[in-house]
Symmetry: C2
Subunit: 290 residues, 2 copies
């Protein structure tokens, strides 16, 4: 069993990006510049945004943090987005979700100029993905593709089962795994809450991608001997035996599933760390597509 | 075995649209107006475009046919598209494909204003489809959805197998069949040229949608007793015993497959006639989304 370490792949990708930035600098090219918009004071959101800003510094990108009050009106937020859309120095930007309830997230997402949509949530980005055109892929699916590539996990002709049909993970993942490229060329089955015989379907998977959002949902009987299992879930479970008072679990019952796997991603240290790598890759792509 | 007659469903949909147009007229609303751009003199393209214009007349839509020479430059074609984008009376328009080789089809498709993209080929349309937002669905997948609805074919929890991963049929079809709605909520398997055990996978399908582009590819051994089979293929095969000199075949070996099916769409008279119904529905939607 080989552990698919997102931590390691993410750090490798970031090293590669840092080298690209050095090259851009040496050639007098544009240094990629990512902006992040943070509305309000939600602790988790602040942590995520700070991690993104730090990652920018590490690879040599410019970064800007736009902090806005939680009571900002939708119109004022849209005006801020318009400013970023028109700022030639900003190559890409994200608006950290979730937003306060009085703001329409879909409206905000669609207000981002598609050529700066480094989160890959804009309809144009997803549509280009369906059409196989160069585009900003959503962070989690793109990160999983990168992990499969890094570990040279065979995909062509394999049966890939995706659990969960969310707009930003399961659904795009199913499209990417079926594309005529590597990683890709899988026969892909997309499953969800209405799926019957889920255990049987999962047990036929060569590659199982789990994004159902239920702690330890996937058990050993659902996994084929020699399969690759990628766990997208992350759950904080109270645990008084830990100093922090909690432990992190994925959507997969790791201890019993891992021994059956050829490859498996752990939680934490699996898919999670890849999202920042994907964001930085998209920002570099934004400069290249200009 | 029940024959899924696209001819009948298409005519029913067009009757419904005609009633909607009458209502719009009675209420002094905008009468939907579809324009079609035809470049060059390709016989098949001319036939398709004429059929679309005729269908507009039948349901009471306004229609405009823009005929352009086959040697028109890409820039001039883009200028014509810009005119249609800015013409307030035109609610939606299509550019009939294929285009002459000196013109970049993708560029032309993306030049169409997304709010007038009634063919549903623009990245914005496909992205909105992935995000479950109101959008123009591509004609063939939308037509198949309509057929399933018309015949009340159960889909929830069913296994839908799609053969073929093209951008305008197989790939969007797989997304639509997995959506949390009716028709939808299927467990969906997307298969293609790299798929192994295709016979076995197809034989497990409750709903089999065939868009592989090979005459009579699907044989009886690939179909489960009681399945629903939708045949997207259409092929002209020389046949001297026919007056016309040819006969039409689908991707499914109809004679041997049909007896096993609960529902099956024939060729011709199946999916084909639905594309015009979808186009008209999209044009009506364009007026509504204004």
């Amino acid at each position: 069993m080989i552990l698919v370490s997102g931590k390691e792949v993410s750090s490798r990708v970031q090293d590669e990006i840092a080298i690209e930035v050095e090259k851009l600098k040496a050639n007098g090219g544009k240094i990629p510049h990512l902006a992040a918009v943070l509305v309000g004071e939600d602790g988790a959101s602040r942590t995520y945004v700070n991690a993104k800003v730090k990652a920018c510094e590490r690879v040599g990108f410019g970064s800007t943090l736009v902090k806005l009050d939680s009571d900002i009106s939708e119109a004022d937020l849209l005006a801020e987005i318009d400013k970023l859309n028109n700022d030639n120095d900003i190559d890409g930007f994200i608006v950290q979700l979730p937003l306060p309830k009085h703001i329409n997230e879909q409206k905000v997402t669609e207000a981002i100029a598609p050529e700066k949509d480094v989160d890959g949530f804009h309809p144009v980005s997803l549509g280009k993905m369906v059409l196989d055109l160069p585009s900003f892929l959503p962070a989690t699916p793109a990160g999983i593709i990168e992990m499969l590539r890094h570990y040279n996990i065979p995909t062509e002709g394999k049966h890939c089962v995706v659990i969960g049909r969310s707009h930003i993970v399961g659904s795009p993942m199913s499209i990417l795994m079926a594309r005529n490229t590597y990683p890709g060329n899988c026969t892909v089955t997309l499953t969800h809450s209405r799926t019957r015989n889920l255990t049987e379907i999962c047990a036929s998977a060569d590659i199982l991608i789990v994004a159902i959002g239920k702690p330890e949902f996937v058990t050993a009987d659902m996994v084929k001997e020699g399969a690759t299992v990628i766990d997208v879930g992350i759950h904080r479970i109270e645990d008084s035996s830990k100093k922090s008072g909690f432990r992190l679990l994925g959507d997969v019952k790791f201890d019993e599933v891992a021994p059956k796997c050829a490859f498996i991603s752990p939680v934490p240290g699996g898919v999670g760390p890849m999202t920042i790598a994907s964001l930085l890759k998209n920002t570099l792509l934004a400069v290249r597509l200009k």
